[in-house]
Amino acid sequence: MFGSLIYAARRSVRNMRQSPFLCGAAVGTVAVSLSILALFAILALNVQELTRHWSEEIQVTVYMDVPPQEEALGEWIEKIEGYPEVEKVSYVSRGEAFDRFRERLSEDADLLEGLEPDILPASLGIGLKENFRNRAGAETLIEKLRENPSFSDFRYGQEWLERFETFADMLQMIVTVLGGFLLFATLFIVSNTIKLTLYARREELEVMALVGGTPLFIKTPFLLEGALQGTLGGLMALAGAFVFFELFLLEGLAALPFFSGLYGIIFLPGSHQLLLVLSGTTLGLFGSFISLRKFVRI
């Protein structure tokens, strides 16, 4: 069994050398179509990262009519930090609130001149854990916070959150739908190409059967060949995507203050890289498998 696999491998390497054009066509197609997928994945990943980053701004703000005693404040914060939804809690005193408001008005800040800093209440800013950065999460938390009578008012930037959710949903949809289509396209194109390369060799397949080759004997080298070509294509796609990333995306996007300020854009993580190469292997293998079923009928 093992011996015959090695033998099949030798035959498949020989096959590839004997028809470099067909082999190149298969590898090239896998490489190019997987590159598209890889670039799309990089983009999707970075957009996801961006929304994750933005979602950090989601927080529940708790206003206190009366500025709290330092002791009680410590207790409250500790208790709130114990809630499963909560990532971190920060206290904003009246003075700080006033300063921030001034900042927020920016160019119109001079309007506040002459006003006392105590017009704004003290507050607690409660950052949510990633899974709870949505309306449901914020409201569950507020339900719990209501127990404390010193907390007079709760806000969680409803408007912003709604927009954010909409935006995230939209991105999710585009990524899913487009990704799905790209996946289908890759499948179609690669299997089509492999079918064509085998079609060009169907006489060879026929002769092998006539001379007594069992389907397994005939197919194994071609399956191996498909898998090898797919893997090669996958590796080339990975390399190509990386070069593309380094040359265009990284340089280009890093030059934009918008991005570099927020976070570094990222390449595919290791697991995705492996997945990419393995999809090449799988595509090559299954593309060959399906086509061979069509052309090798004893």
Binding site: R201, E203, L210, V211, G212, G213, T214, P215, I298
Partner: protein
């Protein structure tokens, strides 16, 4: 060895390629199949190696009814056959050596054994110096000889040769016939479809004649008379 019972075969509705053929070929026999062009010789041979299925009738090869055989068993059957196809059917991307070694590889023989046998087979057809050529780099007759070497190399139970000397000169034809006789002497049953009356005259054997898909003659050398041509 080979038994054919009342076999009908038609590729298309209106015309039949074989009509009610019944033939018995005992083990070790040497048989010519002749008949005009389009008589059904190749079709009969194709039925024997399972490339076509008869519409009616039964065919037994080596005790196995191939009309009822599961298609997965057909390759197993073909391994004990040596076939020279009328259009050669060589693997054009492979070298001469690889073409001839292919049936041995299928049988899972050892590499050194393969090398030896292939070289020997190519030598008997006079092509041992062209083993690294591809078929399309050979002359027509050389291609035909590669096909013959491929059929002989497995020492087949049944040797089926469809017009094996159509592209060969008389001298080489003689040598090839000697090879076929040798294989026959070593136990192979031999079936040759041919138009070559000269060949039949020089090596008189049983002759099965077809015409228009019907069996029109089956003569053994004893009753053999010199053909008109």
């Amino acid at each position: 060895m080979i038994q054919i019972y009342n076999v009908f075969k038609s590729y298309q509705k209106d015309s039949a390629a074989l009509e009610g053929i019944s033939v018995k070929i005992p083990k070790g026999d040497f048989v010519y199949i002749t008949g005009p062009s389009g008589a059904g010789k190749s079709t009969l041979l194709k039925l024997l190696y399972g490339a076509e299925k008869p519409n009616r009738g039964q065919i037994l090869v080596n005790g196995q009814n191939i009309t009822r055989m599961r298609s997965a068993r057909i390759p197993i059957l073909r391994r004990c056959l040596g076939i020279v196809f009328q259009d050669f059917k060589l693997l054009t991307r492979r070298t001469v050596f690889e073409n001839v070694s292919f049936p041995l590889e299928i049988q899972g023989r050892k590499r050194y054994e393969i090398s030896k046998k292939v070289y020997q087979a190519l030598k008997t057809v006079g092509l041992e110096h062209k083993l690294n050529r591809r078929p399309l780099e050979l002359s027509g007759g050389e291609q035909q000889r590669v096909a013959i070497a491929r059929a002989l190399v497995v020492e087949p139970l049944v040797l089926i040769a469809d017009e094996p000397t159509g592209n060969l000169d008389p001298q080489v034809t003689l040598e090839i016939m000697e090879l076929f006789k040798g294989a026959n002497a070593r136990g192979s049953t031999v079936l040759i479809a041919t138009h070559d009356r000269e060949m039949i005259r020089r090596f008189p054997r049983r002759v099965i004649s077809l015409d228009g898909g019907r069996l029109v003659g089956d003569r053994t050398p004893e009753t053999f008379s010199v053909p008109r041509g």
